[in-house]
Amino acid sequence: MSGDTKAIPSAGADMGRLLAQDVVIGGETSGPATGAQRIEPSHSPRATLAGQPTHLREAPKPEALTSPDLHREVEQFLYVQAELLDAKHWQAWIDLFAADGVYWMPVAPEQTEWESSPSIFIEDKLMMEIRKGRVSHPNAWSQAPQWETSHLVSHVAIESAGADQIVVRSRFHMMELRRDVIRHFGGRYSHTLVRDAAGALKIRLQRVDLFNSQASFDYVLQIWV
């Protein structure tokens, strides 16, 4: 800056006249459409818009009519599932799964199977045992920095409760602290629950749809969400 204190130049003699004119635009026009009327979707079709689903997402099913006791039992089960993860009780968490139980985190919500399309997690109890063994190993280098998670589970709705299995949906929010950085993961749980011989609930399938599964990951997920 020069520190010059010259006056701001005048817009000229016409300025007053220009500002006095009143122009109204918009409304019906005659003649060919231009501008917004011309840039129709057909002119530039957008295959996908964030405001439209890229695939048919089912509307939430209403809660099935079940007994308050069953609802409470299922809710408490889901809370314990999340609390075991936060408390790092890995084996107790794995024990929540039925013998053929599967933990699945697909890449995208439209996925319906994991054998022929990629997953973020696809683990049976043997693979869970490897993951548990890995994070418990003294030389799991990535586990050296402080690392904690905190889950919230809510919106628990029992979609169906048959003699064989109970289908439950819920939502979760997980905060993760690693070193001094907090990350957020949120999304939807879909649980297929069964009962063991003693009548206890077990997980046949825990499907985890991260709402940010296709965003870029800063670092990776080391343990189940």
Binding site: S44, P45, T48, E115, S116, I120, R131, N139, W141, F217
Partner: protein, 432 residues
């Protein structure tokens, strides 16, 4: 800054990993000159399909035109500079239309219409001025369906640039009975808080796996052993993980081949030709397509993965590709893709999918520890705790024939020495 002073035959100065000016110079002299991978043709099958891609520091887009041709354009309207597409991928229909003032462009980037065009009469910016077109990459080419672009008008052709590293694409495609692959439409994107070079070095660093990945290798080995005891054999995917815990001596036997321009190969070590019924069926399909001899040639190539320096790692026998997009000296995005072998039995895809899920998904039990190492390396090199990075292991013991350096020991740091020789040439403006 003289790059040659930073690169010695057996060590490099730490600043090549940390200095923002060197990073800017890398973008200018390397990434914005070499042939950069944009994507696979099957990502954009239909006219109007586009994919955003970053080449060096340039936001670009790869688009399929109505005549089937592929164009790589700057994602920038020539009018006022606004980006023409706002998403990573999509279909733009018959034209790109700028969201600001509705300039529209054909899919090859040529200007199509300017609103109230008479407003440009008598000005330099009329439709016949090429400045009204979207700027395109200087050169676009593809090899076996893999599309590359170079922002430099001159320089080696794509095939000259790839050199022997083009085996990456041959090896992947030859494993299909029709010689083609198609992309699996999910891309994992991961950010590492470290310099891009750590990734490239690590890919052929055979000493690190049994140190870095021991926790996973040992945990997997324990389960694999139990399954074998119970059932006689264990699925291959346990082996994918347990191999990482092999001994130093075993890793020392896995050789590397280091080409000019920094490309390289880590030879195979996972034993991907078991004699199970799925493999035998698959080999039968290939023999029918190619005959006995060719099939044997294709399936006996000893490749774990191939590096195309400075940004690509192709694991051809398992149809995966990882592409680096450097963001800053200490931040790098990797894009991770999986491919299907057209015409191959589904079981072969599923087998490769296990590796993709276990090693390259965002919940990887392997790269978690690599990423941690590189973050710590970045911080270590940003410190004043020392100025040099050592690549002395087996220095002087490399076998060099016709410019190709073969490691006599798999763990030789010839990999890094060779990559930095290429780096140094590029940085001195020698892109040939």
């Amino acid at each position: 800054m003289d790059p040659s002073a930073l690169i010695q035959p057996d060590r490099v100065h730490k600043s090549v990993y940390t200095d923002p000016q060197i990073f800017a110079s890398e973008m200018e002299n390397i990434f914005e000159k070499v042939w950069v991978y944009c994507g696979h043709a099957s990502q954009i099958p239909n006219p109007g399909d586009y994919y955003a891609v970053t080449i060096g520091r340039q936001p670009m887009m790869m688009v399929r035109a109505g005549d089937g041709s592929v164009h790589v354009l700057h994602n920038r309207c020539p009018h006022r500079g606004v980006q023409l597409v706002g998403n990573l991928k999509g279909n733009t229909g018959g034209a790109f239309v700028c969201s600001y003032h509705a300039w529209s462009f054909h899919l090859d980037g040529k200007v199509r219409a300017i609103p109230l065009a008479r407003g440009y009469e008598g000005t330099a910016m009329n439709k016949s001025n090429p400045d009204c077109n979207v700027k395109h990459a200087a050169r676009v080419d593809s090899y076996r369906g893999f599309i590359f672009a170079s922002l430099a008008a001159d320089g080696p052709t794509l095939l000259e640039f790839l050199g022997d590293a083009r085996i990456a694409f041959d090896d992947m495609c030859d494993r299909s009975p029709v010689g083609e692959v198609e992309v699996v439409p999910y891309c994992h994107r991961m950010v590492q808080q470290s310099n891009w070079k750590f990734f490239m070095e690590n890919q052929l660093d055979a000493l690190h796996p049994s140190v870095t990945h021991q926790s996973t290798g040992i945990a997997a080995g324990r389960v694999e052993k139990r399954i074998k005891e119970e059932k006689g054999s264990a699925p291959l995917h346990y082996h994918y993980l347990s191999t990482f815990a092999s001994s130093f001596e075993q890793w020392d036997g896995v050789q590397t081949i280091n080409f000019p321009r920094g490309h390289g190969i880590l030879k195979a070590y996972m034993g991907l030709r078991p004699q199970d019924p799925d493999t035998l069926e698959y080999e039968g399909v290939l023999k029918k397509a190619y005959g006995e001899a060719k099939t044997e040639e294709y399936l006996s190539r000893s490749i774990h993965h191939v590096l195309v320096y400075p940004y690509l790692s192709v694991q051809s026998p398992l149809q995966q590709l990882r592409c680096l997009r450097p963001i800053s000296p200490d931040k790098t995005l990797s894009e991770i893709w999986h491919f299907r072998l057209k015409g191959a039995p589904e079981a072969i895809y599923r087998r490769s999918l296990w590796y993709f899920n276990l090693v390259n998904s965002p919940a990887t039990m392997i790269n978690a520890d690599d990423l941690e190492n590189w973050t710590k390396a970045q911080w270590g090199l940003q410190s004043d705790g020392g100025d040099w990075v050592s690549f002395h292991r087996n220095y002087g013991d490399d076998r060099i024939e016709n410019g190709v350096a073969y490691s006599n020991h798999g763990t030789s740091e010839v990999v890094m020495r060779s990559q930095f020789q290429a780096w140094s040439k590029y940085m001195q403006g020698d892109a040939a």
